[in-house]
Amino acid sequence: MLSNRNGISTVETRRTLSVLVDNKPGVLSQIARLFTRNGYNIESFTAGTTIDEDITRLTIEVTADDSHTELMVAQLSKMVPVHSVKLLEADHVIRRELVLFKVHAVTSEVRNEIIQVANIFRGSVIDVSRETLTLSIIGDEKKIDGVRDILEGFGIIELARTGMIALERGKYTINDESKVKGEFNYGKNVL
C-alpha cells in the first residue's frame, strides 16, 4: 500500500531536517531522544553554531514516511529549546559532506594514482606518510560513494565522515516566517 485513505505517502525515503536550537547542554540529547522514541535510526546528525553563537544548527537525516516525518517535525517544533525546524525538500536543497579517507600508498606510483583520483574529484591530500595517504573529499553521497568505490581498490584503512550539512537553494532560509511556525510559537508563548 503506497498511500492511506488520506493520500499520505507511506513510502520511506531519506529526509533532511534543518533545526535551529539553543546552544545549551542537554539540548542535543533531547533532540536525539525524539528520534529514538519514534523508532527511527538517525542516518546523519551534525551540529555547529550559526551566525549567532548562542544558536546551533542541526542537520538531521532519517529514513521515514510522510506521516512520521510530519510527526517528528511537529514534535521537534514544539520543544522549547527549538527555534525553528524546516524539512528540506529534495529538489531545493544543497547537501554536502566532508569525508577523510586514509588509504594504503606504499609506492610512488600508487601515491600518484591516488593523487590523480583526488584531483578528479576536487579533493585534496591532507597527510602523507611512508605507507599512507589521507584525502579529504567534499560532496553529496553520490560523489562520496564514487570516490570510495575507486579508493577501495587501493585499500581504505579507515574513513571518517562529518555527516551531511544542508541549506536550501535560493533566497529561502530556515528563518522565513510561515503560518505553521506561528502556530507552534503560539503554544510556546508564555501566558
Binding site: 517544533s77 514544539k78 522549547v80 527555534h83 508564555v190
Partner: protein
C-alpha cells in the same frame, strides 16, 4: 541581597505565590528542607509516605485548584520514585514543578551514593528540565520553570539542583511575578516568540471565519469536550458554544466536568467505553469539532474510520497534536477560552432538533441490572451522589470503578473530577485526593477506587490521617483486577491469568491501623449507614473507608475493542 541557593529557592516559591509543597527529604535536599523549616510559617510542607504519593498529591492539587503544584524529592531513589507521578501529570497536561536535588558538582557522574541521571530519566516525561549547576542561574531557572509549567499546554517541569548550589550564595532581588516575563532567560524566550501579543496571542481570524462557514453548512454537528477545556477553564465559553450550536456533545475522560454530565446536550463519554449516543453520533455527524482533545487511541479507536462521514475540525493550543492521531480537515490553534469566545461572538443560534432526536434516541447511560447478593455500581454511585454535597471533588484510581464513576457521576465544573486519563496510573487516586483536599479545604473530597488500585498506594492513609486532610474512600471490592479480567473474559476464553485477588488485606483493619474508621457494605441500606458515619467522621477531620462488595461478573458496558470501528460494540 546575598543568600544561599536554598533560601533563594524559598524566595522564588514565594514570588510564585506557593504556600503548599508536597515532598520527602533526603541527603541531597537537606539544605532545602532546613530552609523550609525556617519558612514554615509561609510555605507548608506535606510529608507523604512515599515520593509517588507526593507527586500525585501535587498533581491533584494542581488539577483541582488550577494553580501550579510543587513537589520536592531527594536525589536517586527519591527522584526515581517520582517518575510514575511525573509521567501521569505529563500525559494529562497537569502543571506541576518537581524540584529534586542531586549530588554535589564534584561527585556528579561518578556513581556517587544516591546519584542518578535525573535529567536524562525525566526528559521524555516532562515539558522542560533544568539542571542547576550555578547558584547565579537558580532564580532565573525557577522563574522560567514555573512560567513553562503553566503556559501554553501546561505540563510538569523538573528542576534538579546540585547539592552544593543549595549552600553557595548569590545575589537575589525580589521580582514580582508579572515582571518575570521581561527579565532573564524567560525574557529572552519571550522575545523569541514571533507574535507581538505575547501574553495571550490571538488565534488566526481567517481560521475562525472558515469554521464559522463550515458550521453554517452543517446539518449534523457534534462537539467533543476534551481536557484542554478543563485545563484552560474554558467551560463557560464551551457551554455557550454548545448551546448556540445546539449540538450533541461528547465528553472525554479529561473533559469531565467542563460540560455538565446531565446537560441536555451531553451524550456522555465517547470511545472504548463511550455511550451508544456518543459513539453513534460520532459515526453519523457531518461536522465534528473537537476542542482540546488529542484523539487518543481510547477515543479514536480506529483513526481511519473515526467520524467517517464528517469534516473534522480540531481546536487545540498544541500544534503538534494536529494530524497526529486523526487526519483533520481544519484546525484552529489557540487557547480554547479565546477561540471559543470569538466563535460565540460570530455564530447565530442554531436549531438541530432533528439531528438531536436521532442522537438521543440512543442511550447515553448504561442500565445495570439490580442484584440481590451484591451492590451494583449504579446503586453505589447514585447513593454516593445523592448523599454528598453537589460540589464534591471526586478522585478515582484506574479500572472499572473509574469508568463507572465517569459514566454515572455528573460532574459540573472543571477540576471536580481527578483521574489519570492518559497514563492510566493505578494508585493515583488517594494521593490526588489528599492534594485536592489540601488545595480545597472547604470542599468534600471522595476517592473512588478498586481493591487492586487501592493496594498500590494505600500507605498515604497515614498522610491523610496526620494532616487531617480527610478523604472518604470508596473501595469497589470485587476481589479481582476486573478491567483486565474483562478482556480475559471476552478475548482470552476466560483464562484469568493473575487477575484474581483472592488475598488480603482486610481493608477495615487496615484503616484502623492508620487511625481511621471504615465499614464493609453489601446492601444499599448498609451503604447509606456507612456514608452517614463517614460524613460524621469527616466533620471531625477524619477520613473514612467504605468497602463496597461488588460482583466479580460486573463489567463495564458498553465496550468497543481497540482498533475497531467506534460503533462495533462488543458489549451493550
Amino acid at each position: 541581597m546575598l543568600m544561599t541557593g536554598a533560601k533563594i529557592l524559598m524566595e522564588c516559591l514565594l514570588e510564585q505565590g506557593v504556600d503548599t509543597v508536597f515532598g520527602y527529604p533526603g541527603g541531597t535536599n537537606l539544605n532545602v528542607y532546613d530552609e523550609l523549616y525556617k519558612y514554615s510559617d509561609k510555605i507548608h510542607n506535606y510529608l507523604t509516605s512515599h515520593e509517588q504519593g507526593a507527586a500525585h498529591a501535587a498533581d491533584g492539587y494542581a488539577r483541582s485548584t488550577g494553580k501550579v503544584g510543587v513537589c520536592f524529592a531527594t536525589s536517586g531513589p527519591g527522584a526515581t520514585n517520582l517518575t510514575t507521578g511525573i509521567a501521569t501529570a505529563h500525559l494529562d497536561s497537569s502543571p506541576v514543578v518537581f524540584i529534586t536535588c542531586n549530588v554535589s558538582g564534584k561527585l556528579l557522574g561518578k556513581d556517587a551514593f544516591q546519584e542518578a541521571d535525573v535529567i536524562g530519566i525525566m526528559m521524555p516525561i516532562t515539558k522542560a528540565q533544568y539542571l542547576v549547576r550555578d547558584v547565579n542561574t537558580l532564580a532565573d531557572d525557577v522563574r522560567e520553570a514555573f512560567a513553562l509549567a503553566r503556559s501554553g499546554r501546561p505540563g510538569p517541569v523538573l528542576i534538579d539542583i546540585l547539592k552544593d548550589v543549595t549552600t553557595q550564595t548569590a545575589e537575589y532581588d525580589y521580582l514580582p511575578r508579572e515582571q518575570h516575563y521581561a527579565h532573564g532567560t524567560l525574557g529572552d524566550l519571550m522575545m523569541r516568540a514571533t507574535t507581538s501579543a505575547l501574553r495571550m496571542p490571538e488565534p488566526d481570524r481567517q481560521d475562525i471565519e472558515k469554521l464559522v462557514a463550515m458550521i453554517a453548512e452543517s446539518d449534523k454537528p457534534m462537539l467533543i469536550c476534551g481536557g484542554g477545556v478543563t485545563r484552560s477553564r474554558a467551560h463557560m465559553e464551551f457551554r455557550e458554544f454548545a448551546r448556540k450550536l445546539d449540538a450533541p456533545t461528547a465528553i472525554t475522560l479529561m473533559g469531565g466536568g467542563s460540560m455538565p454530565g446531565d446537560d441536555p446536550l451531553s451524550t456522555g463519554m465517547i470511545g472504548m467505553h463511550g455511550s451508544q449516543a456518543s459513539n453513534r453520533a460520532c459515526d453519523g455527524c457531518d461536522l465534528l469539532i473537537a476542542v482540546g482533545c488529542r484523539f487518543s487511541d481510547r477515543v479514536a479507536l480506529k483513526p481511519s474510520t473515526f467520524a467517517r462521514n464528517a469534516k473534522i475540525v480540531h481546536i487545540d493550543i498544541d500544534r503538534a497534536e494536529i494530524n497526529k492521531n486523526v487526519r483533520t480537515d481544519h484546525h484552529i490553534i489557540g487557547n480554547a477560552k479565546v477561540v471559543l469566545a470569538q466563535l460565540n461572538a460570530m455564530i447565530p443560534q442554531y436549531d438541530h432538533s432533528e439531528w438531536k432526536r436521532y442522537v438521543f434516541s440512543f442511550p447515553r447511560e448504561t442500565e445495570y441490572d439490580a442484584s440481590s447478593s451484591a451492590l451494583t455500581p449504579k446503586e453505589i454511585l447514585s447513593t454516593i451522589s445523592d448523599m454528598m454535597p453537589e460540589d464534591t471533588i471526586v478522585a478515582t484510581d484506574v479500572g472499572e470503578h473509574q469508568m463507572w464513576s465517569i459514566q454515572h457521576f455528573h460532574f459540573s465544573y472543571p477540576g471536580q473530577l481527578l483521574t489519570s486519563g492518559g497514563f492510566g496510573t493505578m494508585g493515583f487516586g488517594l494521593g490526588a485526593a489528599i492534594g485536592a483536599k489540601i488545595g480545597n479545604p472547604e470542599k468534600t473530597v471522595i476517592h473512588i477506587t478498586g481493591d487492586g488500585s487501592f493496594r498500590m498506594n494505600c500507605n498515604e492513609l497515614s498522610t491523610e490521617a496526620f494532616y487531617k486532610a480527610p478523604v472518604i474512600t470508596f473501595i469497589f471490592n470485587n476481589g479481582c483486577l476486573v478491567m483486565v479480567r474483562q478482556w480475559q473474559e471476552l478475548m482470552y476464553n476466560g483464562r484469568y491469568s493473575a487477575t484474581i485477588l483472592d488475598r488480603g488485606p482486610d481493608f477495615i483493619k487496615l484503616a484502623e491501623a492508620y487511625g481511621l474508621k471504615g465499614s464493609r457494605v453489601s446492601s444499599p441500606d448498609e451503604l447509606k449507614a456507612a456514608i452517614e458515619e463517614a460524613l460524621t467522621e469527616y466533620k471531625e477531620g477524619r477520613g473514612y473507608i467504605v468497602e463496597c462488595t461488588v460482583a466479580q461478573s460486573e463489567l463495564v458496558r458498553p465496550m468497543v475493542n481497540g482498533g475497531t470501528h467506534i460503533t462495533e460494540f462488543l458489549l451493550n
